[in-house]
Symmetry: C2
Subunit: 198 residues, 2 copies
């Protein structure tokens, strides 16, 4: 196998490793479904959403960057696991274990690609650039749509209240005020219809 | 819900509809696994592969276009189902049922987005542009890697022979001669090691 360069072998190792993302199940379920969604399906759906919804971004965005963020944002969960958005025990973002996971998993690649992917992942986590704000809006919008389709979904299951949802989802507005208007309306309707406790 | 524009409502309908991609199971299995892969997981993995492997493309490529192709290429299977690459009964590409599916599913969106996505899907199917050639190389490479990791996988299961695999996989060379050299070497090794009948 001497035709494989060292970098290509590292890329193959990474491609194998990230297959594990398909075994990480989220709390939220597929639309109108009892089946939990895994992180690969979730990442694919967010990337498709970004492709379709990019016209609603508040600012001009580099769509390739947004989609790169969404494709790789949950790879760290191979090591650190899925953290529920409303968990009171564990901080959802920027934990030490996620940083270590990023170093290990993106570190399977050659140095320049490692650095590029860690940089994209950190930009997403920081949520400060136009691209990160829009990508994070996608990440908050999908489970909201899923919960509405599932009669309240994780909101009902874990006793989450209207105010908590508004607080966690309001960062959608940083990426798109249009999508936040939609999300706010869906959340208020969910409360009015008993899918979410006030 | 008067804050939703008509176009946004169509986008939401599309986002709901494509959730069905997560229920379409392929013949191939996850790496080192007995579990079949679904089309959402497959599409996510191909997009990540394109992101990682784009430096091996034969020609300069628009990576966003490649990733768009990979994210949406199997959405038509919601209506037309997964066709096994080595099926002798059904042509794998450009069937009438796939074209009808593209019209129906991408047609859920407003006209300009419908036309854009059908155009991207048709470009992928035609396989003539640099982007389509590279995207199709990803689509052929992933199941090859999976079969190697699974002791022959679908090759063993369906009695596929070395010559058939070489024939079907050789289009990888149109996108990347480096990746075809790798693929050819893996296929030859598989035959030498009894994972694939000669």
């Amino acid at each position: 196998m001497n035709i494989k360069s060292e970098d290509l072998q590292k890329q193959l190792n990474f491609i194998h490793e990230v297959d594990k993302v398909k075994y990480i199940y989220r709390k939220t379920k597929l639309f109108h479904s009892e089946r939990n969604e895994n992180d690969a399906e979730h990442s694919w759906h967010l990337a498709v959403m970004a492709l379709i919804l990019s016209g609603h971004a508040n600012e001009p965005i580099d769509l390739l960057k947004v989609i790169q963020m969404l494709l790789i944002h949950d790879i760290v969960e191979i090591d650190s696991g899925d953290i529920f958005l409303y968990s009171s025990e564990v901080s959802h973002t920027n934990t030490d274990s996620e940083r270590k996971a990023a170093q290990r998993i993106f570190g399977l690649l050659a140095e320049s690609q490692t650095n590029e992917l860690i940089s994209i992942w950190e930009e997403f986590e920081a949520g400060e650039t136009a691209e990160a704000k829009f990508a994070r809006a996608m990440d908050r919008l999908e489970p909201l749509l899923q919960n509405v389709s599932n009669g309240g979904g994780t909101w009902k299951e874990f006793g989450i209240k209207h105010g908590q949802v508004i607080q966690k989802k309001s960062i959608i507005a940083n990426g798109s005020t249009t999508l936040w208007d939609l999300a706010k309306s869906l959340i208020d309707d969910a409360a009015a219809n008993g899918l979410l406790d006030v």
